[in-house]
Amino acid sequence: MTPEEILSLSCVQLAAAIRERRTSAVAAMEAVLERARRVQWRLNCFLRIDEASALEAARLADRQPARGPLHGVPMAHKDMYYRRGVVSSCGSKILRERPAPATATALERLDAAGAVQFGVLNMTEFALGPTGHNWHYGHCRNPWNVERIPGGSSAGTAASVAARANFAGLGSDTGGSIRLPAAFCGTSGIKPTYGRVSRAGAMPLSFSLDTVGPLTRTVEDAALIAQLIAGPDPQDPTCDARPVPDWTTLMNDSVKGLRIGRSRQYFYDDCDAEIAAAMDASLDVFRKLGASIVDIDLPDLAVYNAASGLISGAEAAALHTQWLRSRPQDYSDQVRGRLLQGLAIPATSYIDALRMRGAALAEFCNQVFSKVDVLHGPVLSIQTPSVAETDLGWGEHTAEVLARITRLTRPGSYLGLPSVCANAGFTRDGMPIGLQLIARPFDEATALRAGHAFQRATDWHLRAPKV
């Protein structure tokens, strides 16, 4: 296979090609390293590329029997997944020299599945921001238009996967950090149910909301990688004990008869017309596949959005208070400003936001999932902002700009619901439009089934940017 042919493959396809000796782990690694070198100067999506050790690991993989379903597949991850003794900068100046204390459970599971890590990816400082900007290591750029933002905080993961400089990678999602960059860059991704995937060895931002998941070329890849990293972990007490279903099999079930919910409230308030049209077109695809589209009313998601902000603000501020006192100059202005506001949140309001969460989830499930199997909507109601218009110091205007970006993702974080993202088309100026499919707790299978069916019927996810 030529390097171009290799780079066009999904993880599932590449793993099969390596298994069947149609290509090798070394050939895949050489192709992706060359591509990464070629796009890095334009996209700044990598913080480190470990070329020598990655090639050595690929050579070893070619000599060994297959270790698992990702044997020999090159991957790079958001730079907040620890490997013992190796620096994980977390996109920050503060941690750029600290060796990680332990290896992340998610990385151990990907290693066991045979994946070969070849680098770490740019991200918003401490995963705190939806644009993908990083003032310490340089902003990451959107491969569809380098003047636009890639979205964050998993900016480098989305940009590298979209640019075919990475086959897949881990992101993290506290208020939208997988879903937003997936939508901005046109990749697939899954934010699993809160508690489904271990957070052990991943940098914490807000322990009540943090989730770990992959950004990928296809929903099929997202299902495979999420399945490999999900499941109980004694290292993470919030990790649920239930077994993980076989998502890679279940996602192949038909969506005929599936009830897909659409709400004209909230998701479509002030929604860009091109995005709304792409959502309608994607619902037509589901109709043709035999699903029924059901109009539903939603609870007041603005309340959940605000409650999510209270929790993430207070928890993030608590984690950073010491450094805010002793090293304030080592934060970028925007991140420091966002952290400071968390210190002003009353303790009782933070606790009330947590106390309300069970009732809110019950309310949402009763109102939505008693009528439909999955809720469909856009990830964003605005078109992709430019780097320049979001490269701002912290102030009221910046807070408003960022709030518009996270408005459709933070309610799902508050409710801890799984959400699968897929590209649903492009705007007239060539930027991707993302849809999200939200399911009830621990029902990733249904969201993955819908997303996979959509991608089997469309080809938006196969398009690659010309970087």
């Binding site: 605000a306 902000g309 209270l310 400003g337 949140i345 309001s349 069970g358 102030g395 807070a399 621990f442």
Partner: protein, 61 residues
Amino acid sequence: MNPSQIKAALDEQGVHADPAHVSAAASTVNSMLKATADRFAALPLEAEPAGFQVEQRRSAP
């Protein structure tokens, strides 16, 4: 909370903030408190954070 109260809260915690940060914090925090006030006021005495995990299990397929 007004900006003076925010600044006092930050000072008390030993954290310095620029006026623009204080002003933005006041605006953002007030907006979140306002949006949630009615719902928080209606929470029953027995509501507790662990109710979320209970509801997750109850709502799962």
